[in-house]
């Protein structure tokens, strides 16, 4: 690595260390077959976490990974992932004496897809525990329009040079309609 490239890498690394990226991301440069998963978090509780795995086929899943949510104090969170279809298998939201977990392994509603070279919006993960009333609400909410301006700010602030896309398993043409091109981009 020559000095110029190294210095760019160093500056970029130091810059990115201020932001909340998954451990495996490290850089905001994606490999050829990689994409970002952008999760919007609205999470409460003692130690919430989400387990997910790549879907190899309709019946088999890859290695399960756990995303601990209690350590993230930002609204948006990026994870660098290989392209493909993933399945959220469990959302764990323990509430003191109640070890609540939402099983999602069979639910297409909890699937997400990673398109390479894109920021794939997972939606808002909403976990709302109410200690007083022993109540936990877990939702995945497609708030691409409601959160759009904030997502734009986040992407621009962090200089992430990839277009925005939707990670939902179902068809949703809204972003394409809004951005007016087949390859929806943030700018």
């Amino acid at each position: 690595m020559n000095y110029s490239l190294f210095s760019k890498w160093l500056v970029l690394t130091l810059f990115l260390s201020q932001f909340s990226f998954a451990e495996e991301s490290g850089l905001n440069v994606l490999g050829e077959s990689q994409g970002y998963l952008l999760i919007e978090l609205d999470v409460g509780g003692v130690a919430p976490s989400m387990k997910y795995a790549m879907r190899r086929s309709s019946r088999s899943l890859g290695e399960e990974r756990t995303l601990a949510l209690n350590t993230i104090d930002q609204r948006f969170y990026l994870i660098k992932l290989r392209k493909g279809v993933y399945q959220v298998t469990q959302v764990l939201a323990p509430l003191y004496d109640l070890p609540y977990r939402l099983g999602a392994e069979q639910s297409s509603y909890w699937q997400f897809k990673i398109e390479p070279g894109k920021i794939n919006y997972f939606g808002r993960l909403h976990i709302k525990p109410e200690r007083l009333t022993d109540y936990v609400e877990i939702r995945r909410l497609n708030y691409i329009a409601a959160s759009y301006d904030d997502i734009q700010d986040y992407i621009k602030t962090n200089s992430i040079p990839y277009p925005l896309s939707l990670a939902f398993a179902y068809q949703d043409d809204y972003l394409r309609e809004l951005l007016g091109s087949l390859d929806a981009s943030y700018n």
């Binding site: 109640l98 609540y100 109540y135 936990v136 691409i144 329009a145 409601a146 949703d172 043409d173 809204y174």
Partner: protein, 671 residues
């Protein structure tokens, strides 16, 4: 688990009106028009003592429920109990029942939500008993966990109390053995006077009773309970006191699964009846179908023969309870509408005294001799109110649902039908009394849209606009209930097609009337009505000058995909709206979101941040694409609004903005 939260909420059988969303009343003198139409009711429940000498009234005052006694001779009223002063916890009175001529039982409830999909919502109940002869310092309570099963109105000083556990029992308790609520018991005192003993047992079963079904004399005819071996069971008591199973849900489910497997048939949403109340005949019950999207229909079901008959359907949001007369005759239902519980009467009870068109009038409660009654009355131009009546004559007003409105409003109503492509489409046109000048008109398609309909009775939104000088048209387009099976069935997959055609054709027909200014027509609706407003405004700028869409759906595919659905609910959606997996392009083509470039007229988009039925994401999407295409629109996101107008304050705020928007677009004939 079969039993739902709703089921637990159905226990209060005699409630007339109950407000979940109460708010402070506003001053009459300073009240705006919106405040007059959307303020809290002043009376939410009323019960008559067996002798007819006293009314126990439940009123709303400064966010709090208050009980008072009204002497039916002198009509003097004495306030005796305030929930706000009595309990710091979030409590509400769910039931108000006279036990005899002296004591009133008050079921106080506290709602505790459980974890979704893990455990049911918990409802904590406390039974208080108020002595009407010395009410101020004499509130008694049953400290043992359970609920009032029957007031035993024929027997002074006693009532039936249900206690559930591994074994469930009905006890006959005496009021005079109970201690004052909140008073610490002495060492020698026994809880509840030591009345939970075998000699006081009226019935007992091996299982956890959820509901007892009692005859008029207080004897238990049937019980719904969880059995350790059999699951949820409905059983009837034989003459010798033995239990005979009428329905075993787990067993029937197994049989049903096996039958489907044998026949290799596709699963479809089947009716699942929950018996609510005895129907006066052996093994017969009035039931709700909890597999219905929202409980809107009452069925008469004989669990011995399996015979079922749909006997009533409401246009309101949901049925909470079924009301029956002394002989087990179906009287009406308690329904939830815009966050408030109302009583609706069955057709044959509606016209006991038909003095004006489309009048509901019926007895809510009566004395044992039947001579004194609490009567509820409502008509299209007469806001609902309660009266005391003796020997069929109205004696005195007791309370109002709309306390700031006069008894009768200056408006008239036209009920008619228009044949649209072979189907009679009923509609209601409300007009101000004075039609000497041409009126601007609001078309107000209802929400739902399947299985809901506009009634000819009092509609506060319609009358609010009539009071401002607008004509208001409400069309019971195909898909609407309340008229015929044909009308409702023909709404399947017609969201953006024939439903809109019906609304449009009727609008065109009505604008030919002499009273209507056909150039000043706006369309306004909520939920599906919001969708219809946006879509018709886009397609027909030659008819509609402006639109107001509240809690509307603009992207139908998103509406369906937004949440996870149970299999039964998904089947219903795919059958009635469409399946995005197969019909994506068709649903997109009828979604206003994807035709914003065609919109020519101004639209006001309103959505609540707390709407859990149609997400506010819909409004943001629509606004973003309208903005992108430089179309005229206003967006108002209300932080407190749910999928209804919400609290009275929220409704007033909202309707004031709507009035202003409409006024600025088509004006009104009144200042």
């Amino acid at each position: 688990m079969l039993v739902t939260t709703n089921f637990f909420l159905m226990f209060a059988r005699k409630l007339l009106l109950f407000t979940f969303l109460c708010a402070g009343s506003c001053s009459c003198a300073a009240a705006t028009l919106a405040e007059k139409f959307f303020s809290s009711p002043d009376m939410v429940d009323a019960a008559l003592s067996p002798s007819g000498s006293k009314v126990a009234a439940l009123r709303l005052e400064n966010d709090s429920q208050r009980i008072s006694f009204i002497d039916t001779v002198s009509m003097t009223e004495q306030s005796v109990f305030s929930v706000g002063e009595y309990s710091e916890k979030e409590s509400s009175i769910r039931e108000l029942v006279w036990l005899d001529n002296r004591y009133v039982a008050v079921q106080l409830s506290q709602l505790k939500e459980g974890i979704k999909d893990l455990m049911d919502t918990k409802l904590q109940k406390r039974l208080l008993i108020i002595d009407s002869e010395s009410p101020k310092d004499n509130v008694l309570s049953v400290r043992t966990k359970g609920w009032l099963a029957d007031p035993l109105r024929g027997e002074a000083n006693s009532f039936l109390f249900a206690k559930s556990g591994i074994y469930s029992k009905l006890y006959k308790l005496s009021v005079d053995k109970l201690a004052r609520d909140g008073v610490r018991l002495g060492k020698l005192d026994r809880v509840d006077g030591g009345q939970f003993v075998r000699s006081n047992e009226s019935r007992s079963i091996d299982g956890h009773a959820i509901r007892w079904y009692l005859k008029n004399d207080g004897t238990a005819q049937a019980v719904l309970y969880f059995s350790r071996e059999e699951g949820l069971v409905l059983a009837e008591f034989s003459a010798d006191g033995k239990l005979q199973t009428l329905k075993n849900w787990e067993e029937d489910d197994e049989k049903s699964k096996k039958s489907k497997k044998d026949k290799d048939t596709a699963t479809k949403a089947e009716k699942r009846f929950v018996p609510i109340v005895l129907a006066g005949m052996s093994s017969s019950f009035y039931c709700l179908d909890i597999n219905e999207e929202v409980e809107k229909s009452v069925y008469l079901v004989n669990f011995s023969t399996g015979k079922e008959e749909k006997i009533y359907q409401t246009s309101s949001y949901q049925i909470l309870d079924i009301l029956v007369g002394e002989s087990g005759k179906f009287v009406g239902v308690k329904v939830l509408k815009d966050g408030t519980v109302f009583t609706e009467f069955a057709e044959e009870n509606k016209n006991l005294s038909r003095k004006v068109e489309s009048l509901i009038m019926g007895s809510i409660d009566s004395s044992r001799d039947g001579k004194t009654n609490i009567v509820y009355a409502e008509a299209h131009n007469m806001p609902g109110h309660l009266m005391l009546a003796k020997d069929g004559k109205e004696l005195a007003p007791l309370g109002k649902v709309y306390p700031l409105l006069p008894k009768v409003l200056a408006s008239k109503q036209v009920e008619a039908v228009l044949n649209v492509e072979g189907l009679d489409i009923p509609y209601l046109l409300n007009l101000p009394q004075d039609t000497s000048v041409k009126l601007p008109m609001l078309v107000m398609p209802h929400g739902g849209p399947i299985g809901v309909y506009d009634t000819p009775y009092f509609d506060e939104t319609a009358q609010f606009f009539v009071a401002q000088g607008y004509a208001v048209l409400r069309v019971n387009f195909r898909g609407s209930s309340g008229y015929s099976e044909d009308l409702q069935r023909s709404g399947e997959k017609q969201w953006g097609n024939m439903m809109l055609t019906d609304i449009l054709q009727v609008t065109r027909q009505v604008t030919k009337r002499a009273e209507i200014d056909s150039k000043s027509v706006c369309i306004i609706g909520m939920s599906y009505g919001g969708y219809a407003a946006a879509e018709l405004l886009t397609r027909h700028p030659e008819v509609f000058r402006c639109g107001v869409a509240m809690a509307g759906v603009y992207d139908i595919n998103l509406y369906i995909n937004f949440r996870e659905h149970s299999d039964g609910r998904a089947d219903w959606i795919y059958k009635n709206i469409g399946d995005p997996r197969e019909d994506y392009d068709d649903l997109k083509a009828i979604s206003p979101l994807y035709s914003t470039e065609k919109l020519q007229r101004p639209i006001f988009i309103i959505h609540g941040k707390k709407d859990t039925v149609v997400s506010f994401e819909q409004a943001y999407r629509y606004a973003a694409l309208l903005s992108k295409n430089n179309k005229p629109f206003e967006l108002y996101i209300d932080e407190e609004m749910t999928h209804s107008y919400g609290s009275p304050e929220s409704a007033v705020r909202l309707m004031s903005k709507v009035s202003e928007f409409i006024g600025s677009n088509i004006g009104s004939t009144m200042p």
